[in-house]
Symmetry: C2
Subunit: 214 residues, 2 copies
């Protein structure tokens, strides 16, 4: 008989926490953050209600932890693959392709997690709204920075309007996600890629650096 | 003492129906269609629960009636002002401006009603999902038709890709709505107008027909 390690309870708690969040990000991407309830999660995962409560304290805490977990997964899938790339158009392109693949591959079963919860919380107020706003700002800011660095690297024209370009690229990606999830069609991703390539070509010093998309 | 007209009950029912739907489109644009409940509406409007039930039958019927009512208001505000305009770029522009004004003016308190409920129902199935899909398709189709007519009128180039253009204009408008509602900022509407003007200028036979936007 082995002696339990002193941190066994903590480890078990962490494991349960991960199992709960793995489920909540999936539920929230389809049904929204309001669909999360401690009772439902306990039933679905075969845990005690008090156990889930002990880990998250309240529905709001559970929602906030879910937003953080989705942000972690998003960073892992979309941001991390390009952080070490040299600044330039190729990096912008890879970032956009990564985002579309994150949506198309249904990393979250309901498509982009943030598209879902932004629509849900945009017109409300409180800590969950604030966390969602922050996540959206971080992503827009990252897109802007990636474009600004491509401009500094001399690949985008000096007069390229970076915030406008970021707004337009994000609009194409998010709409592709929305249309594809709604209609179950893949055409929208192609349209987004065509639009992104056209925008980058207009802003590029050398348009031939932008991939051809058909 | 006046004799009640024989259709008094029907009229009262219609009045109540309108009052309920007036409230439900507002609630749904902020909190989504799942937030509609017969009990809540009865309390908020000082009606009996059984009275609301008699008019709508079920929560799903209430949701469907709300989607129809929002569609009616959308048509009234966005489509009707341009239907009699002659085909051409000016009509496309007025349609887009009308949409942005519909979002900015908060015709629905939560911004575009359909932006909210599409995100809510996109990954689900059932009659409400189908009604929302249909509404989105109708709007996209109307935008495409308006662009196709502008091309037939000789104002857009013969090789303009109308479905692609429609996708991009709708993306700019919906993202402006999302960003503006989320961050409480108006800049997004300006960005959308700049993007729409740029897209139309590229597709126009005479780019000077497209308004200058700053």
């Amino acid at each position: 008989m082995s002696t339990p390690r002193p941190d066994g309870r903590v480890e078990r708690g962490n494991r349960t926490r991960r199992a709960v969040l793995d489920r909540t990000v999936g539920i929230a991407s389809v049904e929204g953050l309001e669909a999360l309830s401690v009772g439902r999660l306990a039933t679905e995962l075969g845990l005690s209600k008090s156990g889930v409560f002990a880990l998250f304290g309240s529905k709001e805490e559970l929602q906030l932890a879910t937003v953080r977990e989705a942000g972690r997964i998003f960073t892992e899938r979309v941001i991390r693959p390009v952080v070490a790339d040299p600044a330039g158009i190729a990096r912008v392109w890879r970032l956009c392709e990564g985002w579309l693949e994150y949506s198309r591959g249904r990393v979250f079963p309901g498509g982009c997690f943030f598209y879902e919860v932004i629509a849900e919380f945009d017109a409300r107020s409180g800590p969950v709204h604030d966390a969602v706003v922050r996540a959206q700002r971080d992503w827009s800011a990252y897109m802007e920075r990636t474009l600004a660095e491509a401009r500094e690297a001399g690949e985008l024209r000096a007069d390229a309007d970076v915030p406008q370009l970021a707004f337009e690229l994000v609009a194409l990606m998010e709409t592709a996600n929305g249309v594809a999830v709604l209609h179950g069609e893949e055409t929208a991703y192609r349209r987004a890629r065509i639009g992104i390539a056209a925008r980058l070509r207009t802003a590029a010093v050398d348009p031939l650096r932008v991939p051809q998309v058909h």
